[in-house]
């Protein structure tokens, strides 16, 4: 059957999205594949469809529990019952029964830490793995923006499975990250399928402001005059809230803040309001954007500088999905580089915290270091933030498995690891800063960073090549105001009674 036929049969679609067919053909021709496709291109289809063609099990390693859960539910909704997620959400009883009947499943999602559990591995070894999928493969590289030490051993695990056919997926990967992916996964030859990270309809624009106050005023001006809807990104929840409230007070746009500090119901409401056009400006932290399909976003403003080019690209990529001209503006005022530097440092456990942690290990655990997991107070007493604690857990997980490792040695390695991570993060920030200070074409620089050929003749490419901001202003005053119902009775009847007669 032709691929389109399979697509129709299992998924009900007529055509593939960009890149999907290339990835699938590459896998089905038996080649290890590195797929670099932007988010929203249906990456799960790239392993699901081959799964139906190949005999044996598809094993998918995925770092984010929530993402994993989403994908499983989505596949189940599509009628695929032979799918399961092996992660810490599964209670022990369920886990046991799943593992006993593991051969029933066609698609097994697994978190990297589960691959450390001997019993789990033993059961998996009894399966024939037809496709080994590494989702978010950039996590394997310390140059990526989301390095996970757990991922480093995936190469070894692959070999234990006898070098199965492998698909590594990611949305963005710089040259260094690509090299790391093939190297650490022990892939000798790999076929790359990528679509360009470049979005020619988004102009890249940087404005330098003298100081914080000028920058804030300029933001109000821009938000007032730019064609909406738009998203403003901040590094701080508090400032996102403040600016949103200021914008509301000044009556500039219908604005709300969105960040991880809001409860789930509010987050859903704000997202949906934005999608349905009830809001036209979102003051967001990086928590906003995952899974948001709104194709007419006209501007992205960065009020704080992002911590690396990858996250910058991901964020501006939410503009102009309809292909129409859109603009990404980054406002930089003197000294702004300090904030990401501080944030990077704050994400890492401090030297004092690490020292304290190890002295606690030495004095309390009688050599049974793995016991620290079960001590829930440790994080609180040591004053570790959630991110800091995850870093400690991640690195400790790896160290514990190394034989003949004493506490002092671990202590040194942890310090070394943290310093190295910090250095990488700083380097990424300075790379971003260098891009901000650039005298040449901003797009060229980014394309080169991602190892892509340079393009020519992009209209309104970047502020260096020349962009006329006037083209992005809302000249058209006739934009239809949505009717807002002021009376609750009208609102209620609209919800419950209208529609019926139509």
């Amino acid at each position: 059957m032709k691929l389109e036929g399979i697509l129709k049969k299992y998924f009900g679609f007529q055509t593939f999205k960009t890149g999907q067919k290339e990835v699938i053909s590459s896998i089905l021709s038996g080649r290890h594949t590195l797929a670099i496709l932007p988010t929203g291109t249906g990456k799960s289809l790239c392993y699901q469809l081959p799964g139906y063609v190949l005999d044996g099990t598809v094993l998918i390693v995925s770092p984010l529990l929530s993402l994993m859960q989403d994908q499983v539910e989505q596949m189940m909704r599509m009628g695929e019952k032979r799918v399961i997620a092996l992660n810490s959400f599964l209670n022990p009883v369920a886990k046991r029964s799943v593992l006993q009947n593991i051969e029933r499943y066609k698609f097994i999602f697994i978190s990297p830490e589960m691959l450390n559990v001997p019993y789990v591995m033993n059961r998996l070894h009894e399966l024939s793995i037809s496709l080994f999928v590494v989702d978010e493969a950039h996590c394997i590289s310390q140059w990526g923006y989301d390095f996970r030490p757990d991922y480093l051993k995936l190469g070894e695990i692959r070999q234990q499975f006898g070098n199965p056919l492998t698909l590594a997926q990611t949305a963005t990967a710089s040259r260094k990250v690509r090299e790391d992916i093939t190297r650490f996964l022990h892939l000798k030859e790999v076929n790359k399928v990528e679509t360009s990270i470049d979005r020619p309809n988004i102009s890249l624009y940087i404005e330098k402001q003298m100081d914080y106050q000028t920058k804030q005023n300029r933001l109000f001006e821009l938000v007032f005059s730019l064609r909406k809807p738009g998203i403003i990104y901040f590094s701080s929840k508090k400032i996102a809230e403040e600016i949103a409230s200021q914008l509301r007070k000044r009556g500039i746009g219908k604005t709300m803040a969105y960040h991880a500090g809001l409860d789930q119901e509010q987050r859903v409401l704000i997202q949906q309001q934005f999608i349905h056009g009830q809001l036209d400006v979102i003051c967001a932290t990086s928590a906003f954007g995952m899974g948001i399909n709104k194709n007419n976003v006209r501007f992205i403003i960065h009020y704080h500088m992002p911590m690396q080019i990858e996250s910058y690209l991901q964020e501006i990529g939410r503009a102009g999905r309809d292909g129409l001209p859109s603009i990404a503006i980054l406002l930089y005022s003197e000294g702004d580089v300090e904030l990401p530097l501080q944030l990077a440092e704050g994400e890492m456990p401090s030297k004092e915290q690490v020292d304290w942690f190890f002295s606690w290990l030495k004095n309390n655990n009688h050599g049974k270091i793995e016991l620290f997991y079960s001590n829930n107070d440790l994080r609180t007493i040591g004053g570790f933030s959630e991110i800091q604690w995850r870093i400690i857990e991640d690195i400790m997980k790896t160290l514990i498995r190394i034989e003949n490792m004493d506490v002092e040695k671990m202590h040194d390695l942890v310090n070394e690891y943290i310093n190295k991570r910090l250095e990488v993060k700083r380097a990424n920030i300075f790379k971003m800063k260098k891009w901000i200070d650039l005298n040449g074409c901003r797009r060229d620089y980014i394309l080169d960073y991602f190892d892509e050929p340079i393009k020519r003749n992009i209209p309104a490419c970047c502020d260096v090549c020349g962009v006329d901001l006037n083209n992005y202003l809302a000249h058209d005053e006739s934009i239809q105001e949505r009717e807002t119902l002021e009376e609750w009775k009208d609102y209620l009847s609209k919800l419950l009674i209208s529609g019926l007669e139509v």
Binding site: E265, V268, L269, W488, K494, L496
Partner: protein, 351 residues
Amino acid sequence: MPYIEIIILYCLKQLNGERTIYSIYHLLKGKKSSQTIQDAHLYKLTHFFRCFESISREVLETKIQKFLGNHWIVPNGDQQFLVTSVGEQVLTASLEKQPFPKHLDGWKYHSESLLFWERFSLLVQVISNFNFKEAHYIPIQKNKQVHRWLKLFLKENSWQKNSLGKILHSELMDCFESAQNINPAVFIFRLTGYCQIGLTPLQVAEKLKIETTKYYIEFQNIIHFLIQHVRANPIQYKLLSSIILDIKESNPLTHSSKITYEYVRKGLSIQEIAKTRGLKTSTIEDHIVEIALNIDGFSIDSFIDKGIQKKIIAVANRTETKQLKLIKKHIDTANYFEIRLVLAKFGGVKQ
């Protein structure tokens, strides 16, 4: 005066300098510990139980500092404060302008109000989209249990799907017509339907020009009103009452106290229950106090002599205190458990 201050000042007044400010924190957060529950009853603050979960210790402490500076309160022991006459005047004046909503009953409804809201708001969204024949939309509630409930609800009840909207609408209108001092807008604008996404609490508060704290309390008030009203009139509100039909009227006891209660009903003594359950007698005593607070008509006579009961009530009334230490000073024949139990049963001071 900001609404949160009215609440805190009111709590301080009720506590009469006999509990620390952190008992207010636990009360508003709705901590389910015997201490918090007993205090809520003793000082008649049950309606505020879990009515302001987002309160932080910092906010509370800042407000206390402000009250001290204004001479509204004076210290009365460590982290304990008495409301001064100035404070009382301010409080009375503020309450006259903004009285507490009268349906608010946190203790009674804390365990079901969120569930009621999740079910109700999802039901409205589903009905509204159904009316417009829209099958693709993002459910506003993420709780999987609520999704399962709704599926069953629509399947098992014999409602005509295209009449649901009208029924729900008319039941709601009836409900709000019989309500006094309620602004339905506080509730209604939060709802989501076809291509109309509900507002967040902050947005409704800004739209109606209400302070956010006050907004939260008003919203709770309406939920509590709806549950109470609908449950009392199941025939009039067939659809609305069936939303909460399967939620048992909340048995307010904690799980462990429920087990103790079973043993008490079988006639076991405190010592016997402690032994059977492998718990300390003091724990069982806590349970007994909790039962006395929550189960109407629970007799405490088997735990404490009637004569001593009377004495304790008399002392509590005379000294106008709920502090165990003070009461014990006057009656050395009673132990602390007995005093707590009597206070729990009879609410301490007479009104």
